[in-house]
């Protein structure tokens, strides 16, 4: 009997941390739901089934259902991950779900990562800083395909917030920029359109809220649903920022 067939027969128990901060009477509590597992079931499917069959008020986020939008990040059995990318067959029959910490709770499993990401983006100015005005009528400057691929590799970040929730430093120190911010700077540093120097980047991340705050716990690297090379990018930025000093 294959593992998938074996797991299809299971009854899953989902323990979900429920709380509505908009309701003054709401207290955080664990709610239990039981579901029959079937082949190919993801946490996203399971949550929809719970909402349809048992609990219409259950709040959780999703858009793409394909690991692209980064909306369905949550803590699954203690580890951050995407609900849509997590097959229930990879988990034990009792599954605990909680909202991502470090972000503003909207309700139940839904958090506002957007507010945090916007703050980080504005602080690090995560966009191309050009020296000259862009001529929209001119052909874009050429780039080697290898370089474009390197940039694309880092550009795959979907800002799901899993790296922040998995980071001990970010959990302890809320001003820490986290792997998502450092990865973005590494991405723009590669870009030939970008005019910012390492000295400019030092002004943004050359302190304990930036790259020197990273304690190399590597929770970010190990939970990233897009498997971004966060470990090597943070080490690279650290070397560059020390060279600036």
């Amino acid at each position: 009997m294959s593992n998938e067939t074996a797991s299809a027969a299971r009854t899953l128990t989902l323990r979900i941390l429920r709380h509505n901060p908009q309701d003054p009477a709401s207290e955080p509590r664990w709610a239990r739901y039981e579901l029959e597992e079937y082949e190919g079931m993801t946490l996203f499917i399971a949550l929809n089934e719970i909402r349809e069959r048992f609990e219409p008020s259950l709040q959780f986020d999703f858009v793409c259902r394909a690991g692209i939008c980064g909306s369905c990040g949550m803590v699954v059995n203690g580890r951050p991950g995407l609900a849509c990318r997590t097959l229930t067959s990879t988990l034990p029959s009792e599954i605990t779900l909680a909202p991502l910490p470090a972000f503003k709770l909207i309700g139940d499993l839904s958090v506002d990562t957007g507010q945090w990401m916007r703050g980080m983006s504005e602080r690090l100015e995560t966009w191309i800083h050009e020296q000259a005005e862009t001529d929209l009528h001119a052909l874009e400057e050429r780039m080697e395909p290898e370089l474009a691929e390197q940039i694309y590799e880092l550009d795959r970040c979907i800002e799901c917030g899993c790296c922040i929730a998995a980071c001990g430093t970010a959990r302890m120190r809320e001003d820490f920029v986290g792997a998502v911010g450092l990865n973005k700077l590494a991405r723009f540093r590669l870009d030939p359109h970008n005019a910012r120097t390492d000295a400019d980047l030092y002004e943004l991340i050359g302190d304990d809220d930036g790259v020197f705050g990273c304690m190399t716990l590597l929770g970010c690297h190990d939970v990233c649903p897009k498997e971004l090379p966060l470990q090597t990018q943070i080490a690279f930025l650290r070397r560059k920022m020390v060279t600036v000093s």
Binding site: G78, R79, A166, M172, E203, G206, D207, L217, Q231, S245
Partner: protein, 235 residues
């Protein structure tokens, strides 16, 4: 106003002092473990390190000078590393619950470093101060006497475990922190490095604890484990 360069320098200094201490300990524990080859071997090594071969007699001042330098680096490293400790009860609680929930290897290794480092603030300071002020007592008899009759064995037992774990994990984390030995496949290399950490830990712990046992044997019996008499152990 330009951002201070101090954070970069402190981060680098923490790594350099840690690296120096880890390398020092790697040699220190090997020299200590020469007792496993017998009292004569340890006497030769301790004599050689104090330039006995060159001057015809041991120069304990050399040990004092080396310990002063190591003590200074140790204090600097402790001070620099403390910056990363949880700074208040809320941070401590958050980190502890985060670690328990995540069950993530490298996060737990960091926690281990915090506690082994904290223990060494006290244990290593006692050891360093004694070595700095009484270098003339280092030798098969003097060291065995200190370990058994001056009750240093409990201190050395805990200190040995703490320092081996702290140094091995520290070297692994240092490599990842600065991106050393990443190779073509950093994920695979990380697994290899982690395996190396545990091999180094087991080898050094076995060797160092056996050496501690050998000193205790000398203290209790007046002879090394090969049966050679060790003179000068008087209660």
């Amino acid at each position: 106003m330009k951002k201070s360069l101090l954070p970069a320098r402190l981060d680098l200094a923490q790594s350099i002092t840690g690296l120096v201490l880890a390398v020092f300990m790697a040699f220190h524990l090997i020299f200590d473990s020469s007792i496993l080859l017998g009292a004569g071997a340890f006497a030769f090594v301790s004599g050689a390190l104090e330039c006995e071969l060159f001057f015809g007699e041991k120069i304990p001042l050399i040990t004092t000078a080396v310990v002063i330098v190591i003590f200074a680096i140790f204090i600097a490293h402790a001070g620099l590393a403390m910056r990363k400790f949880p700074q208040n009860a809320a941070q401590y609680r958050t980190m502890r619950s985060h670690m328990k929930e995540m069950r993530h290897g490298d996060t737990s290794l960091w926690w281990l470093q915090i506690w082994t480092g904290f223990a060494m603030f006290f244990l290593a300071s006692v050891h360093l101060y004694i070595m700095m002020t009484q270098p003339q007592t280092i030798g098969p008899a003097g060291s065995a006497y200190r370990i058994v009759f001056e009750w240093k064995w409990p201190l050395y037992l805990v200190l040995t475990i703490a320092v081996v774990l702290h140094a091995a994990v520290g070297l692994y984390r240092l490599a990842l922190k600065w991106g050393w030995f990443e190779g073509q496949n950093p994920n695979r290399r990380r697994k290899t490095l982690k395996k190396a950490v545990w091999i180094v830990t087991v080898v050094y712990l076995t060797m160092s604890l056996a050496a501690l046992g050998a000193f205790i044997h000398i203290g209790l019996t007046g002879q090394d484990h090969f049966g050679n008499a060790v003179e000068g152990i008087a209660r």
